[in-house]
Structure formats: structure tokens, C-alpha cells
Symmetry: D3
Subunit: 336 residues, 6 copies
Amino acid sequence: MRIAAFGEIMMRLTPPEYLMLEQTKELRLDFTGTGVNILSNLAHFGCQTSLLTNLPDNRLGEAAKARVRQLGIQDHWIGVYGDHIGSYFAEMGFGPRPTQVTYQNRRNSSFGVSGASNYEFDAFLAEVDLVHICGIALSLTEKTREAAFMLAEKAHALGKKVCFDFNFRPSLNEAHGVLFMKEQYEKMLPYCDVVFGSQRDLTDLLGMELAKTLDASKQFEVLVQQFMTDYQIEYFAGTIRQGEGDKHYLTGFLFDSEKQVKAAPREIVRLDRIGAGDGYAAGILLGISEGWSLLEIVEFATANGVLAHTIQGDVPLTTRKQVKHLMEQPTVDLIR
Amino acid sequence: MRIAAFGEIMMRLTPPEYLMLEQTKELRLDFTGTGVNILSNLAHFGCQTSLLTNLPDNRLGEAAKARVRQLGIQDHWIGVYGDHIGSYFAEMGFGPRPTQVTYQNRRNSSFGVSGASNYEFDAFLAEVDLVHICGIALSLTEKTREAAFMLAEKAHALGKKVCFDFNFRPSLNEAHGVLFMKEQYEKMLPYCDVVFGSQRDLTDLLGMELAKTLDASKQFEVLVQQFMTDYQIEYFAGTIRQGEGDKHYLTGFLFDSEKQVKAAPREIVRLDRIGAGDGYAAGILLGISEGWSLLEIVEFATANGVLAHTIQGDVPLTTRKQVKHLMEQPTVDLIR
Amino acid sequence: MRIAAFGEIMMRLTPPEYLMLEQTKELRLDFTGTGVNILSNLAHFGCQTSLLTNLPDNRLGEAAKARVRQLGIQDHWIGVYGDHIGSYFAEMGFGPRPTQVTYQNRRNSSFGVSGASNYEFDAFLAEVDLVHICGIALSLTEKTREAAFMLAEKAHALGKKVCFDFNFRPSLNEAHGVLFMKEQYEKMLPYCDVVFGSQRDLTDLLGMELAKTLDASKQFEVLVQQFMTDYQIEYFAGTIRQGEGDKHYLTGFLFDSEKQVKAAPREIVRLDRIGAGDGYAAGILLGISEGWSLLEIVEFATANGVLAHTIQGDVPLTTRKQVKHLMEQPTVDLIR
Amino acid sequence: MRIAAFGEIMMRLTPPEYLMLEQTKELRLDFTGTGVNILSNLAHFGCQTSLLTNLPDNRLGEAAKARVRQLGIQDHWIGVYGDHIGSYFAEMGFGPRPTQVTYQNRRNSSFGVSGASNYEFDAFLAEVDLVHICGIALSLTEKTREAAFMLAEKAHALGKKVCFDFNFRPSLNEAHGVLFMKEQYEKMLPYCDVVFGSQRDLTDLLGMELAKTLDASKQFEVLVQQFMTDYQIEYFAGTIRQGEGDKHYLTGFLFDSEKQVKAAPREIVRLDRIGAGDGYAAGILLGISEGWSLLEIVEFATANGVLAHTIQGDVPLTTRKQVKHLMEQPTVDLIR
Amino acid sequence: MRIAAFGEIMMRLTPPEYLMLEQTKELRLDFTGTGVNILSNLAHFGCQTSLLTNLPDNRLGEAAKARVRQLGIQDHWIGVYGDHIGSYFAEMGFGPRPTQVTYQNRRNSSFGVSGASNYEFDAFLAEVDLVHICGIALSLTEKTREAAFMLAEKAHALGKKVCFDFNFRPSLNEAHGVLFMKEQYEKMLPYCDVVFGSQRDLTDLLGMELAKTLDASKQFEVLVQQFMTDYQIEYFAGTIRQGEGDKHYLTGFLFDSEKQVKAAPREIVRLDRIGAGDGYAAGILLGISEGWSLLEIVEFATANGVLAHTIQGDVPLTTRKQVKHLMEQPTVDLIR
Amino acid sequence: MRIAAFGEIMMRLTPPEYLMLEQTKELRLDFTGTGVNILSNLAHFGCQTSLLTNLPDNRLGEAAKARVRQLGIQDHWIGVYGDHIGSYFAEMGFGPRPTQVTYQNRRNSSFGVSGASNYEFDAFLAEVDLVHICGIALSLTEKTREAAFMLAEKAHALGKKVCFDFNFRPSLNEAHGVLFMKEQYEKMLPYCDVVFGSQRDLTDLLGMELAKTLDASKQFEVLVQQFMTDYQIEYFAGTIRQGEGDKHYLTGFLFDSEKQVKAAPREIVRLDRIGAGDGYAAGILLGISEGWSLLEIVEFATANGVLAHTIQGDVPLTTRKQVKHLMEQPTVDLIR
């Protein structure tokens, strides 16, 4: 299955060794973004992947493209438009000090100013079996919304699988408010086959009601089934994080039209607090594209999400071999 | 309130990534010292701060001054005298391996050789409401003792608040012995309004007796009340560290003439084992200078001390926003 | 003389060791800008300096302010507005490979979106004797033009010296064209006392004519005199670069209403190809503010400009001692 | 034209800042090799390129492949075989101190142990118009010789262009001696269309005689014409380095069956002493593949070779725009 | 007691800050190997130590020798032979992500190609009281086996103590299989006085039987006694790792002909997952060479093994003072 | 010949990439000193060398010793005394910007506070054939003068060769003045066999008169002959630097009792402006100790001095092979 994504390539600038911005002049430059992350991981799993986006026609755009190629992602659908790459600075947290992300001018990025007319959707879709669209596109600008809708509609019409990720960030939507955003999501969902989200996305954003009389886990099950029926969704997946004392655990869930499964919780030890969600999503898409059982998929994706947290940066770089190792020999922590 | 400090600027040289001195040629250069630390933190809280000290008239002195300004501290009371900056190398510990500090020639530093005549105390005090004096000045050299006494006396006479920090290090006082040091502290304390210290400072150094018939916490309370009465101290504050299994907790206490409060213990996770005490002191001084309740003060100061341990180096750089975040949303460990 | 500047603080991100962006993930972060550069150098010469600008109210803005303080510049006129710091990446050239600057979204920066109403000009001017305005403000946005005109007008009205720097970059003005820019400069110049520029600024931008019948150096002299009379300019200064085989030389010139002087050419050896002009300007302003002879001024400024090229980054950090050393003992290349 | 190369991917490990191996523990890891270098440069010129080689099936092999992709080279003909990547350490020279290369076990590398049966030549050649073979393959091992001959023979038979690079290093051939090597080259040359070499390759290695009665440049011309006739070579190209005092100049030459051209000498300023030859070769191949005039080709290639020396590492990363800039505006050394 | 070792010097290349190979170009270069590790630690304990090995006669060999001297090991028995240093890349694990070691061509190293005739055993042994031989020599190549046997035989004949370390790695012996390896170990053991190993070495490799009717710890005791009797071993030592929840503990054991002791378990906190075994062995050899009681030896060696895990790299650099500190004041984690 | 030196081990702290102290927090730590430099170079030439000095008994002293061993110098005459290592910061110059050295408290170093009673001269001298004493010892402190005199006297009495280096730095002798220093040098010289110095040392420091009627080079010759006769000196050597336009040249001279020679001038290209004199001295001592002709000695020493300037730091690390390469194939600047 040829998997592609539509999304932004962002610059991430990170001080070394948990230093804060005022403590150092050294920064590590990475290129990231939900699409980059998921495709990079799928490429490391051996899939053929391709990213649809725009970058500025300058040295920085070229450097970004080179990194994306290094990650294993094909670059021939990366066009040039605009003159800016959205960026963020990540001051890495330690213990009770949170990781602090500071964005720099995201809306004026090459991706942010590119609308439907800046992409060749038809030619792109001809080479693709499944396309991932990140929900951030619905929040960013009028242009990105327009492009995302057009792409989803076309893909759906051509019988391509559309995978969508809620990724709803209230902080990006202060101007519009939840009601406006609800309409955007409702417009997108009918085109989608695979959806990543959480209970809160369904209740707080879409305004769906919980069947309060049921017990909590049943409430969630009924809610998701309703959601999947409403929008004709094939798969709905997501993760739940739980704390127990000092420890944190990750569990993934996955619904298809008939049943639902949940992975055994795995402890999370984090080198980087950003990015495990994309590792989980990559695992789910791999399993779906290869027709594994729901349980196989969700166990693999959860293990992969846990590994994603042990990698510097938000781009998951795990191989099948590494995920299998964690699943099969979790206590062997030195391989030689 | 205009807050100032009198104290040494030291160089700290730290190998990267927990390496030991013989393992690397790379060092990170920071400028530190109790006065620098407390004022830097107060400046990050929005206070106007100023440091009284001397540095050599060379490139290193200039670099030190530039760093102090970067921290938000005014540099116009930093004079030039002597030809050396006291320095120490910190080999960062890991797990059971202790952090190892190696000092280089502290007594011959510009600060160590500067006596009362090398400072303009009157002009300095005219611009100040509260002045912090670090107890290290009593241990370092004859000159620093002389300067510290003169400054404290003048400040007290002018009705300025004097804040004093016991900071008693037996290793710095091998030549003189405890009795000599006791006399120095007894000479200083009558000028002081706010004092930082521990039970051991009162018993082992000042030779005060515990009322052994009382229970432990009552003993401490009575001891401190006696101390505050003896020397007419307005506030006495300090921290207590407790271990529970693998975990370490920090609790702050604060006495005024009428009552005492204790903060709820907070778990410590340490990136750097040096420097949390100064973060605690900065929190206390902020609260006092703004007239908060004792409990507000001690809770804020304790949270700030805990955050200080999550920062590389001994200089606390926390803002009010960061401390509030920890107090109000301790589980949110990624802010974007 | 209290010297201030109005201008943008930019981020500069530079790969180490002449690497290009696609060759490394490591970047060195500096904060720069014409105002920062000139004031930093004046502060290193012992002047009291202050910068008027706006930064975003976030971690990056705070880090920028800290660096500006470190450079010796007072930060109390740095306000908060907007949410972005303009930035550029500098791939350092080597030999025939040029230094390549790539800008990131300069117009949407905090400075770019701040108009006259976002500054407190009156209070600021009350503390200032001379204010430097960079010509980039005329090119950047409608807002920065408006702010620059208002500030210049007010300063002039209050009898403050206004220093202006042509700094005309055609690449920043593709939208408007030269004619529009000519009008802006003509509007600004009547408020100005000290102007930095080149022959080309007067001919190509302002459209003044050369008296072709004279010899070349006389042509330039007559041109500048005409310009200074037209706009009532007190001082006009600039630099000329000359190549001779492999070698490059810098000469500074300085006109007042009565005479003109030129410095002896000095060879340029460049560690960084960006920033010597600001070092030259700082030297000129120092000399003018202290009433030196024209020749003393121009010799000092030229030596300083040459030293600026030997410093990494565009911020000149030279002291009077260093400039004097170069002027008096140019062959002593090791000081201990 | 689809251009491919057959050759080794090597690791290059370089200490920073001209340090020698015993002075530092820090190394910069790059992947290089004649094929990598030429293809990378062609990819930066916009060509579609592909490398045929083998790497070990381990983490290092994967990292090497990722870097090759980053350089713009397609990786689908990079197979897995053997368990070692040939490597070398480059202690960068400075002034009279030479750059010192130390090889680590080159013959046992994955490339060194791979023979004809370890590659899929037919499938590979089906996707290629021109294939570059590096002469090192004739020196390295029996296996690499066998593979190189088979590939050249097949390519020639299929009417693909074969490009060959003498690259004769006596130090790699101590075991066999020149006579043995002469036979290998004589076996290879009949398959070749484009050849890179020097006068010394023709005389010292192939044993051809100079027509001593002619003047030096005519001698060379006649020699090359004889060589091209003997082996039916379409293009013969190479570079000549000349010193003049402290300065070094590069001139490229290019012969086709009818005429010869020479580029104007360009001064060399070297950041890295390794690798300009591959930049020159990439320029030649670009021009040939696009049908430029001989003079256009050789001027472009020489400028590109000069730029290659200004780049850290041996991989040339220049774009057409950069080469054009040097050719058209050689004095503009700061682009913004 | 003059202690020496026979073994390989390997290069270790480690990316910084837990990065993986494809994430960085920066590597830290160390020289390591069982012999290097044990001798370095003994030298830090104040012993006179010397290493017998071969290195290539090139810049890398010289750099390796310089590092070995820095560690405190005498280098006059390090000869030159071959042209390669075996190397490995260590991608440092974090949490559930294992540390991943990738070897580069170990068998063709200078050590791997050196047989008995490439060493001067007699002269070497004349200066030595105890010689450590690493079991890896039995696995590596025919040459290293031959050299190890000859050295052990000669040492034994001369009445020198021979210390041997099982260090059996199945991955290095895929060609030969266990039976072949069993014969090699059986040939070596009669020459040995001090042996490091585990229960599995005795059962799985040597094929000895457990007395299943006894309880587990008794089984082990009887097994070791049988082994020591069979081969006339003076001391048998090793470590056992135990997990309890998230925590890991290290316990050392030591047998002499009459009794056995076990250290109290110590918690392991690991900065580097490679190398604690060599720290343990160094502790045992120190105690034996100085005639401590079995219990003193095993407690010291276990504490030292725990400290070895807190040091970057596999070379233990602990001093007696540091080990004593951990044993006597385990809660003091900041020394100044 | 067993060569030893008596002198200080200093720390050198250098910012990377020509940055100044206020521009970076990163420093590179080296250990240096005239004795260290000369012995290190001799060790790299294959000589057995040993350093007599004292270091503090702490982690820094241990790290210094380890580095000295790495350089190939034996460490068993390095004792412990005092608590400080003299240090200096070197801001590397570029072009017209001078290298700026800032010393930190040199007189209170372990070496500075060690007098004759802190060394075991007799035992040390028993193992030595030639001992080098640096003139800095005469300037530093009363203690170092005392120790230097005692050592020279004893060595001379035992018939050991004494090598002495004027190394007169007026800046270190502001307290005493030239007359006092003259007496010290006059006291030392009678013990010396090999002396390094310049014409200025003989005239300005010792007050010897030039025979003004002779031509300049003859004046120098007569002066040196007088000096050598007066103090019974066997060899007198030194270097002369000459500038010609932008270029700098180094020439070495060497006198014995009968004749004098001068090396052909060699161009200097400097990576580091500190330390070539010690490289020259090492070359001279090597030649003398091996009985080369005067001309061979001086040519080798000059080439070595030139190479020393191409190495980062002041410690020359050249091998015989490298010096020979420069002498025999100066145009081969890439060795592989």
C-alpha cells in the first residue's frame, strides 16, 4: 500500500542537555510535523511513503527537503510556495519542569499560505492508496482548510482511503471558537475512513453526548460506535495515558465496525515529551495496510508509541525489529 | 522594594553529559555565587536587583559582568580590584556517584582580597531597601569578614533590611575552628532582619541547647523562637530534605515573631545537585518584599526550590509563571 | 551623551565551522540588528545606551532581552507586542563561496507589526540625547515607516540629535520600487543630523546628479556637500571598500559642514562577512559624542570597522583598548 | 539522462577545528566515496541519480543509506552484503601541515567482498543511461575487479554510456605492482565512453610514450588523441593544478574526438583538501548529459571544482545557482 | 603486585545525548576492551599495570596508545602489527529502548591477526606477577586462540598467576558452535588461577551438570566447587543481577578453595549499560593482590561495579576514595 | 639520553572557533607549560621523558597528570603540594585582532608555592641525563627561584647537562625590576650547558654591550660568543621572526663553542599564535642528544617550530615523520 500524507514540515530548534533558551547559544535543528513523523516511521517499517506539502524556494527549504528524504520519505510532491517555514523552540523539561514549546509565526508559513490551487491533487492521488490528513490543517488558516477539504473530497471520490487525525488544539483556535471548528470537523469527517481521536474530541468538540447511565468504559464504547456510524468511519483509534504514582502507562485502543480492542498498558519512560502519538498512528496504519488482526495492530502500535518517547525529537525512527524486540524480549536492554 | 546582595561571583566549569574531568576537554563556563543566584531569580520575578562585589579588571572580569547583566542584575556596583576570579569545577554525579566539586584558589579572588575600603557602601546603600549578605563572607578571609560587618552595620543603622544566610561550611574554616566562627556569627546577627539557616546552625555553630524534654518538632520551634528573640530577628527560614525510599522531598519552613509555617513536601527530581537553596531564598525574599502571607511565601519558595533542581547550573532562572504552573497544574508537563 | 536606537532585534542562526545548512543539525543562536550592533559597541566603549523596540511576550522574547542586556544595552524600553522574532540563517562563506543569508518572515515580526501607537516615544526621548534610526524601518512595513517618521519628527522637535542610516536594500523593496522609497527617504532626511550612506544612495536612490566634468573624488565631494545643504545634515559618513589583488581594504570618510576627511586604508581580514558597517558607525558616533577631531573620529571608526570583521557574528564587541591597540601596535598579535 | 554510479560508500571521521586524533574525542561522521560524491552533486544540479553498491545489514548500513538519500541519491539499488563499511579518519591539515588520511580496513568492506553475483546488474542497467565506475574498484579486491568488469561489459553491450575514472593509487596496489594494474585498466577501457585521468595515468600506468620532440602541451594533446583512438573514448577530461607563489590554481581540460578545450585557471582556496576532483567530474557529466559546448562544460566544471574545495567534507553540494554565481559575480561574497 | 593483561584495544564511537546513528553526525571516540578496562581501573587504584597487545603502525594506533597511557596503563608492551583497530558503535539506549552495539570488522583487527609469534611473551612475563587473559581471545580467530594458549602456558610454567574471564559470546562463535568452544575453554582452564564466570558458563558451555536435588543456591555452590577442583582454580568470581519491579540490583560472589561469600545487593543506576563487569573484576583483582578478606573483596568489587555503571563509556575510572565514599557515606551525593 | 624538565603544568581554557569569552560558554581545557611542551614533543620523537613538578592533590591534579601521561611524559616525579593549578584563558585572535591571554592567579599555584624542600632532587637527578629549567621559575616566586637554583646547582655538580630557557617576561616582574632579575639570571647561568635566548635577553636583561662598529649580524655573533665564554655555555640557540608584507618567516640559529649556523627561513602559517618556541627547543634538544651536525639540528628545529604553529594549543605533537615530510616534500599537502 502506497501511503502519503498532507501536512506541514516545521523546524524544531532544541537546546542541548535540558538547557533553557537563555542558557545556551547552541540549538539542534530538526524538521518535523505530524505528516513527516508518521511517514518517516512507516518508511522505517519498509513502506513506500510520500509527503504533499510546500516549502519556500530557498536554502532552508532545500535543507528541509534533504532531511525528509533522509527519513525515507519521497520528496517529489514537495512543491515551492511562500517564503517561510513554521518553527518552534522546545525547551526540554526535566522532572517537574515542563517541556516548553514556543511557536514562531506558524500561520505565515509556506504551508499556511498554500491553498488548493497550490497543489496538484489529481496527479498526487494517482500515486497513492491511503492519504493521511492532519487536523491541524483545519485550524491553521483559511487556505489550509480549503486545501484539506478539497484533497479529502477528491481522495474519497477516487476510492482512496482517507486517514484523519483530530489533533484539535484550542490554543490555535482562539479566533474562531469551538463552534466554528465543529463545523469544519463535521465537513471533513464524511470523507474519512480511518480516524485518530479521543473521547474528548467527540464530546467537547463534536458535542456528542455520553450515555451517562452506562459505566464509563461502556459509555466510551457506545459513543465511538455512534460516531463511527454517523460518519461511516471504518477504524477509530487513539491512546489513553494513565498515571500510577510516579509511573506513566500508555494504552492504545482500536475500533472497527464490529469490535474493539485495547492493548495491555506499557510503561512510558520519556527522553522527549513530544511525539509519541505519531508513533502510535504509524503503527496502526502499518497494521491496517497489511491486514493484521485488531489485537496485533494495537499491541504493535502501543509498543511503538512507547519507543517513540525514548527517541530525541518528535520523529519516530523505530524499525519493525526494534518494536518486535520490545514486544518479545523487553528485559534485554543491551544488544550486541 | 530594591533588593541588593553583597557576595562573590565565581566561575563554574562543568563537563558535559556527566563526564568526569579526565574524560573530556570540553567545559561549560557559568558565573555563579549565592548573591548572583538569589538576585538572578528575583530579577526573573520582576524585581530591580543590584550586586555589590569586585572583579578583576581584565577580559574575564568583563565577561563575568556581561553574564550578570544577562541574568537581569544591574552591574553598576561591580567594581574592579584584585586579579583573580574564584572558580570551581563540578563533575556532575549520576545515581550513586556523587557530584564532585573541586575548588581553585578561592581566598585569593578579587572578592577575597577586597576589604571595606574597596567598596562604596554609603552610595550603594542609598539605592537599596534590602541587602542580602552571604555567610561565606564570614569564612573566606579577614578582608571579607571586615567588609561584611561594615556593610551590615551601616545598613542596619540606615534602617535598611539586612538578610543573612548562615551558609556555614566547616571545610572552609579548618584554620579557625568553630569557636572563632561562632564569634563572627554572633557579631553579625544583631544587624540582621531576615535569616536563612538550619537547626544545626543554631546548635552546632552557635552552641544553643535543645529543650530535650519536648518532642522533636517542638524542640525546633522553641529553639528558633529563642534565637529570634536573642538577636531580634524578624524572619527565620530554611528547608528540610527528607528521603523516602528512592524519593527525596523538600519542605520549607518560615518563622516570624508570632508564628511559623511549613510547606507541604514536594518531590525533588534533580538535574543539578547544586543550588536549590538559593531558589528557596529568592522565593522567601520575593514574598516578604511583597507582603504575602507566611503560607503563601513558603509554598511559593518551596515550589521554586524544587524547580531550581531541574535547571542546569546553580543559577535559578524561574519566572513567576513557571512557579505558578507547578503549583497549579503540576501534572501538565508539556506546554504548547 | 545618552545614546539610543530604534530598530529590530533579529535572531541569527549560524551553522558551525563553515558548514552549510544541509550538512549539520547544530546552530549557534545570536541576537542582532543594526540598533543592537551599534549600541552594543557603544556600551563596550563605556557609553550608556538603550534600545527602543518590541519583542513577543514569550520565552524567545525573554531570551532576546537577556542577550541584549548581556551586550551592555539597557532593556527598559523594550516592550512586548506581536508574536514573532524576525530571523535569518547565515551559511558562512569560505574563499570564493559567498556567505549566504536566508531570511525567515521578516515583515510579520514583532517589530514589523508595531506602529507608532505601540511605543512610548515621549517618555523614551526624555531619557535620550541622540537616537539612531535604521533605514530598514522605511522598507519593512507600513507600520515601521509610520513609527520611524513619528519618532524622528518628535526627536527633531525636541532638539535631540537624530542619526540615520540609509541601509537601502533593493531586495526588501521589490513591491514598492525605487520611486516610492525615494519619497520615504526624502520625508525622513529633514529630521536628521548624522547620516550614514554611500554615493550610490545619493545618486541611485535620491536621484541626485554627479557633476561629471569634475574628477571622481571631487564629484563625490560636491555631491555630498549638496546633499548636506539640501537636508541640513550635520555629519555624513560612510565607508569605501577597495580590492587590490587578493587583499581588501576599508577606508572611512566623514564630512561635516565645513570639511571632509578620509582614513588611511586598512586591510580587512574577515572571520565573518556580515557586520563591519555597524562597527564603523559606532566609532563615528563615539567620536562625535565626545567631540573629537574629524580625523581622530574617522581613523578610530575605520580601525573599529576592521576589527568588527574579525569577530564571529555581526555584533561588534570591541573595547577602546582593543581599537587603540590596533592603531598603536598593529604588529603585536599576541597579548599576555 | 538517468545517471548512476557503481562504487563504495565509505565512512569519513573528521576531528573538529583542525585538531589531530590525539587531541580530541569528538568526530564528525560523514559518508562519502567517488560515486556518492559525483551523484550527490548531480542530484543537487537536478539530475535523477542512483547508486549501485552494497552495505552491511545493520544500524550503520541503515544510517549510511539514510545519508545517501539525504544527498538526493536514490537508494533502491543499495543492497546488503558483508558486515563492514570501509572507513577513514581525516586529520585536517593547516598551512604547511598536510591533511593526513588514515584508512581502516578497506578491503574487507561490504563493497570489497561483493562480487558480480552480489548485484543485479541487468535490472539496474535497465533504469540507467550513463553509469560511472570508479577506478578504485580495479585496485581494491578480486571481487570488485570482477564486478566492475562485468558491469562495464554489460553496460557497453546494452549501449549505455560508461564513464570511468582512473583514480590510480599506487598505495592501494603494493601487492600487485603496476604491470598487473596496467592489464586491468586495459581490460576496462574498451568498454568506456567518458574517461577522467591525467597525463601520468597514460604514461606511467598504461606505459604510453610522449612524443618528446614536440613542445609540452602538444605532447599532451598527441598523447591523449592516441589514447582516445586506441580505446574508442568519446570524452577525456581532467584537471591540472598549478602553484604560483602561495596561490594555487585549478584548470580543467576536456577532449572530444575532434577538439580540446581548457578552462581559464581559477584560484583555489581550500576549506577541505579532499574531494574537488569529484566536483569537477560532476560538472563534466552534467554538461555532457545536457549537450553543452565543450567550453561551457569545462568552465562550469572548473568553477564547480573550485567551489568543492570550499565545502567541509568530500561531498560536493553545490547547486547550479551557486556555480553560476561564482562564474558571473565572483566578487559578490555576501548574498542576502 | 605487577598486573598485566593480554587483550584487544577497540574503538568505541558513541553519539551524544542518546541520539541514534541516523540522527547525528557527532560521535565521541573512546578506546576500550576488557584488558584496557580492568587495567585502567587498577591503575586508578594505584597499581602498576601494563597491557600486551598490538596496534596498527599509523595515526590511529598512536592515538590509541596515547589514550591508554592517559588511563594510567604502561604502553611499552603495545607492539605494531596489522592495519586495523576493531571498532563498535554504541547507540545508547533509554528506558525500554535497548543500547544497540554495532561491530565493525572485529576479526581483521591488529589484535585479531596477531598470533604467538607477534608477541614477546618471555620478556613480557618477566615483568609481571599476574596476567589477565580475556576469553574473547578464544573466540576471535585462530591466531588469538594460539596466542592466548601460549601465553597462559608460559605464565603458568613460570609460576605467574593467570586470571581468566569466560566472556563467552555465542554471537562471536556462530561458525564453530559450542562443542568447539568447549574444547578451547577446557584447554585454557588448567593454566588458570583466578576465573570470572557464571553458572551458565559452567553448565551451558562446559556441560557440567547441576545437582538438581539440592536447592538452587546449594546447586550453584556444589557446581562451582566441582569446577574449581577439576581445574585447580584458586578463585572463582562473578556477579548476579536481579530485578525487583523497576529496580535492578548487583550482587557479587567469590569462592576460594575453602569458602564462598556474597556481597549485599546494591542498586544499579545506569548512565551507560556497558562495562560494569570489568569494574567488578578490577575490584576482585585489587583485593586478591593485596590479600584482603573474601568479604572485603566482594563488597568493594560490587560497589565498584555499581559505580562503573554511573560512568560514561565502558572504562571504569573510579578511585579507592570514590569506592570508599559509596561504601561509607552512600547518601552524601554532593561533595565539596 | 634521558631528558627531564622542571616546570609548571598550567591549565589553558580556549573558546572554540575564535569566539571571545563573552560570546560563548564552551571552553576547551588543555594542560600546558614550557616543560610539558618540550617533553611532549621529545616523547613524540621517541625519547624517554619525565617531568618534575607539583600539582594539587585533587581531581584537577589527577586530570592534569592523566593528560601529561597521554602526551607520552612519565609522571612519577609529579608530586602533590598546594591546592591550585595556574590557569589562563586564550581568546584566539584572527587577522588584525590579537590573541588575548588572561592569566588567573599564577603565583599561588602548586608550582608557585613549592620550594626546594618540596621536591626530591637527588632521586630525580639519578634518573636523568639532561634537565630543562624554564626561566619563568626565576620570575614566579621566591620559592620557585630557590628550587630552580638548587636543582641547577645539584645537576651541574653531578655532571648532568642543564638546559635553560631565558623566557624573560617583563610583565611577570613588575614588582622586582630588571636589576633584580639580572642578578637571578647571572646566578643561574654558570650552571647551564644549553641556553635558549635572544639578542635582547643578552643586552636588555644582562646588560651586555653590542660592538656597534661591526655590522648587525657580526655584532650579534660577537655578543653571543662573549656570552658563551662568560658563562661557559656549550650551546646557545634561538629564533628570529621576520615579516615581509603579509608573510611571516621563522629562522633558527645555533651556536656551539666553535661555530654558528642559521636555518633557511620558513614561512609561518599560524593556527595558534602561542607555542612555536617550545617546538623549536624540542628540535634542538633532540639533535643535540643524538649528536647531529649543527645544520641538521637547526633545520629540523626550525621546520618543527613552523609545524608547531599549525597545531591547536601550545603543546607540539609532531613526530619525526611529520617533520621529515615537511623538510622533504613540502608541497604534498594531502597524505593518504
